[in-house]
Symmetry: D2
């Protein structure tokens, strides 16, 4: 018999190499449910602003697994006991924590898969895989659901300083080229420890935490909440809503089978049975992009012009405004556009809309980042910092905006 | 009037920033023909081997334009005269030199767009754009076609040390994480000059050229000719051939309009009229990926199993073999598979196939890389190097291989 | 005649290449006054904490000149008029702005060259060079002294966002390996402009400024004010004071001629005539290190044990304490040590001493960093930021400390 | 008792962090013999060409220890048994392998410490430390001397792919800014293994080895054998010879005690007793630089002009010549200079001299780099490569040169 070893090492521009710790992890990665993440962009439509941001959820999930391996290595070297089974569960849980993301997840969640959060779908996938893999994912699922008694294991997977953030902040900064957001994850993870079953950062790492939070704040404003991305995502949400509206009216829209399934069925959390999950598992960016490319020529004016706007990057204007100005301005733009296009109020909402963005680098109401002082006290990082700098980072900042098409002639409103 | 500036600077993880030199370039970039490159992966299916290799032809084209700006800056600082018009033409030509690539270009060119090279399609696009932009691309096209009297301008666009290679070797190495292939383009471009109308490298840059050629060689073996990529591309070629075969027999295959056009029409160079170009301009990775996702469930065994192989990464085996062994081994595998599957000979070729890869870091029969010695002589880089190292790099290396499916039980053949 | 070109390009690990813009700059760099900076460490004794921090003031000065070239290029591309003469003056002034630094500058300024600030000595050097170079440095000197009418030129040389900081923060972070302090100077400099004769940063660069200030803050705590460095520097200051004390008493101390000159003469600003400047120009790190190596075997207990402490890295303890605790603790340690060593009060000060460190990333009382808003208003960066984060950075933080030798047996004081 | 932890982690710009594995290693690093390496530049006078090349032998030794830790980790993960004692011995041996280097080692070895190779002095130091540390270095010394039965341990310390080269090629390339020589040590070390007691590289690492050897070749020509460095080193050798000559004649030369010891005593290998070792242990760059600074004003014309040449970078010309031209040219230059300076023949040799440089990236007569093929055969890397590229790298290249002062008026000789 010719036998072939399972691939064990993957190249990564960020960490150099990512190794796959064992054959169960290898098999999970090879599973079509996980391979599908290769076809889902990690940053949605951000590539319209940052052409380098083409990395996928597949690569991010592998990066998380790598960072988790580093974290386990660091903790073990500091004599934190982690059993072989727990270690394995950590790798499984972090690898799969985002498997429930669909293509352009935020737009999807606000249109055709309403009221089902991607973390819930991740859990559906994990359970399905657990069946297929004869219960080998059970501990990972327990930890992920917060049911396991050792709490720091969950904190490594999901908290304000989890391995997810370690990877995505670094990776998104790297690929987008937004160097201001670069954080030194490999360095920060050297500083972690466990004390009283809490994940903590040793005191000497306080400046690294500070830099991490500042980096996070900058990534939010420059990437995740970049005005143009936010607007493009809102347009995509509106496209999908319109497509559903039209489909419900019986208008034929060319699209893939699986997208068709979600346009024609109202799927809520309770409906996520095996069939829905299988259909969902077939969805990726190509379904959406493929549909938009077709729809840009559809006879429905709204569907075609919005689709064209994304496909050919004929994006809208987006202006930051004061909160109390917002409604007045929306009215103004609606009137102006209406005088050109004669749309009804419902239709106008597809072209003139507003919103609010909120950024908070550190959430003082959530599970804190804990600092372990030299004399073994645990304090919140806010208290540990030598100045009000970090406190400032926990104050949420809100920005209001309005969006409207570029090709509309507008009188000067300022 | 509210007016909005044209975006002038783009983030790039490699160079930091890429600036767009003027509004004509800006408008070309904004054109749907160019925006389409955002949806075409630069390295085809290589992301199945290197998960980071998700960068696009859009980004590469911008990178080339950036390197060309550096080259112009260096040459001008060395008192090479380049007129404003020539400079602009260089930027246009390098930006558009690859615009004729379709999705998974090599597979396409060997299946559904036979006998039309992507450079010819680039020229079709350039001419179409030249019409739209009132002749402003004329000089760029003249240079691109080799008709302009100053030959070094073409050498900057297309030669063994052009700005295309400067960017793609660096970019592909960067994103794939194949660090061995990293070249220092920004450094190398500092060393160029023009002498007797030839593009030359100054003698002190000889080690940089050597490193560039070695890097190129390593990128070929580790990326462009990576066994798994080559095999995946051959499978994709076979999928598209099968799809065409079935379509011609009248079998219905779900796919996008534009892909359907190329499956049902036999398009040769002479057929590339406006309509064909418009259809071609709508093709991108999502058409192919979307089709494969659907076809993996098609009733045609060949189409579905090959499509599944790409979508779910159930790839084939690929073995390096001696040239004289190749046919014998192909026969052996065909027999073995046939005993399981009962296919006819034509069908068997979809599952068992071989090929040859050739790598030559430096082509001594092509336009040479010229070194300008300190006493102003021009010599071929092969003569300039202090040892036979570079000579060795110009000897082509050939590797033969055979491919066959993994899930076939094979007796040990070695 | 065999002729040789002046070297025009230098390798730099940070920027790749540094070019020397013209032959006057080349000749200034070749001058012994400037070559001397090759032998003066940029970060003093920090290499005792960060072994990589061995870069020199020579390299930093070249790096500043490089950043200034970038700044001039950016400003010119934004249509800021800078004459050839002004441009040249900027390069000269930034190249020479730190030429007055002696070895281990802070220790020197607090011991043997009291009350003469290195910027004043820089001016002495510039004037001496101006004589030698026939007045070609006159404009540079005018700008440096603040006498020139275009104020932004001085701001490029000396302000809270000058090219000096651009280089030293980046360079010190790079060589020390304190990645938290890394700033993206090349990016930040893209954002500068001139408005109403002020150096400004364009609004879109606000996050880069924020990252710059945070980076500066972190570099202060982790490098410039690292406890061990501060303590080592205080020990060196005390060594030089002791050496002066002993020399004044007629005790013979082996050292270089030029160090001997400063030990035996009391040199104040008014004494900085040609001879003193020439002697000063011969001082570098080797004079100090050479002396300490010899003095570690001197019969004076204080001189030898402190010298040994630096040379063999037998450093003292340094503890952060509350301000109101400081005196009490100093007394305690003095008593304890005295019980072992029987020193008089003056001598005790060589072994037990305290101090205060102050860090302020942004000084709101100094020349501000000015932001140019999109509607062409100039505002202080503190007002421009979207939250209190930057305000926090302008609040000075003070830390108090006490130092004492390690080999003293101390009862637990906590 | 106030207790203080031993420092365990050091920042490194290249690897991020270097950890000190245990307290014995910590104590060795703290020892004055090792701390002395902080004051010895790794690349001698190369900083006259590459201003960034100011890193020290101290940092390199730590870097080697770090790479050795990586190597041990990789080998253990591949089930190579390495006992705790062997592991420790590896760290000690690699840490101390270069401890016998004096300041500007090559110049020293060719002048005042003739016929004693630095590796022999390393062994003297190791033995002295072994006495002090009660025999804890014995196994390290056995391995270092080649007496231990497991040969791959020595190969990790000293061979054509040892951890010494892994660190110094990377570090020297990094600090000098000669990017062409950058090698990916962390990647290469992932590929090592042990087979039949030989250190081997797994076949998939063949391209990394190729890049390593090409990088080495480029580092030799661009750094270690850079014409200007080689010439500066020859001048320094001549200065030290002249100093010895003058001292022997009874001329007084200001210098440090320890340098004086070596100028006045003829020390051969057999003379390296405890006293000589202690004197040697006090020598570092500051002794040489301090002396040269003084000697540039000495009344001996040869000593002062050569010293001035190094201190103020008034370097000589160095020309590459054909072997058969060399003597003729030396005669020509000697005559020319003599007509100006009236020196005798012995004196002329201080100003006009020649030499030969030899570069061989891979030595096929030494212990080979062994490749482990997929079917577990060991072959020499020369055989393993797919083309003659590597063979070319094992051919030695020789270059001949002549040196002479710049300020001499020379008639055109070409």
């Amino acid at each position: 018999m010719v036998t072939y070893n399972k691939l064990k090492i993957l190249n990564d521009p960020i960490y150099g190499f990512i190794s796959i710790p064992n054959s169960l992890l290898y098999d999970l990665i090879e599973h079509p449910y996980f391979q599908r993440l290769r076809r889902i962009n990690q940053m949605g439509l951000s590539y319209l602003v940052y052409p380098g941001a083409t990395h996928t959820r597949f690569h991010h999930a592998l990066g998380c697994m790598h960072m988790m391996q580093k974290a386990v290595q660091v903790l073990k070297s500091k004599n934190v006991e982690i059993s072989q089974e727990e270690e394995n569960a950590l790798y499984i849980a972090i690898l799969l924590h985002d498997i429930g993301h669909g293509p352009f997840s935020h737009a999807m969640e606000n249109s055709i898969v309403e009221n089902v959060h991607h973390e819930e779908i991740s859990l559906f996938f994990m359970n399905a895989l657990n069946d297929e893999f004869n219960g080998q994912l059970s501990l990972a699922i327990e930890i992920f659901k917060g049911n396991y008694h050792r709490k720091f294991l969950l904190q490594l997977i999901s908290s304000q300083m989890d391995m997810d953030r370690m990877d995505y902040l670094k990776r998104d900064s790297f690929y987008s080229g937004v160097a201001e957001g670069n954080i030194n994850s490999e360095r920060l993870v050297q500083m972690i420890n466990v004390h009283d079953d809490y994940l903590v950062v040793e005191e000497k790492g306080i400046y690294s935490v500070e830099k991490f939070l500042v980096g996070r704040r900058l990534m939010y404003w420059q990437c995740y909440l970049h005005k143009t991305s936010v607007m493009a995502e809102m347009i995509l949400t509106k496209i999908l809503k319109r497509a559903k509206e039209l489909t419900e009216k019986g208008v034929h829209l060319w699209c893939s089978d699986s997208l068709h399934f979600f346009l024609t069925n109202h799927i809520e959390k309770a409906d996520f049975n095996k069939e829905a999950l299988k259909k969902f598992a077939l969805l990726d960016d190509s379904d959406i992009i493929g549909a938009l490319k077709n729809w840009q020529f559809h006879e429905d004016f709204i569907l075609s012009s919005l689709s064209n706007s994304i496909i050919n990057r004929n994006l809208f204007h987006i202006l930051n405004v004061e909160k109390n100005q917002q409604n007045e301005l929306l009215d103004l733009y609606r009137k102006q556009i209406n005088s050109e296009l004669q749309l009804d109020m419902n239709e106008l909402d597809y072209f003139v809309f507003g919103g609010m963005m909120k950024n908070k680098a550190y959430d003082k109401n959530a599970e804190p980042i804990r600092i372990l002082t030299k004399n073994k006290q645990i304090i919140d990082v806010l208290q540990a910092s030598d100045q009000s700098n970090l406190a400032a980072l926990s104050v949420p900042v809100k920005k209001y905006f309005v969006c409207f098409p570029k090709n509309i002639t507008l009188k000067n409103i300022q």
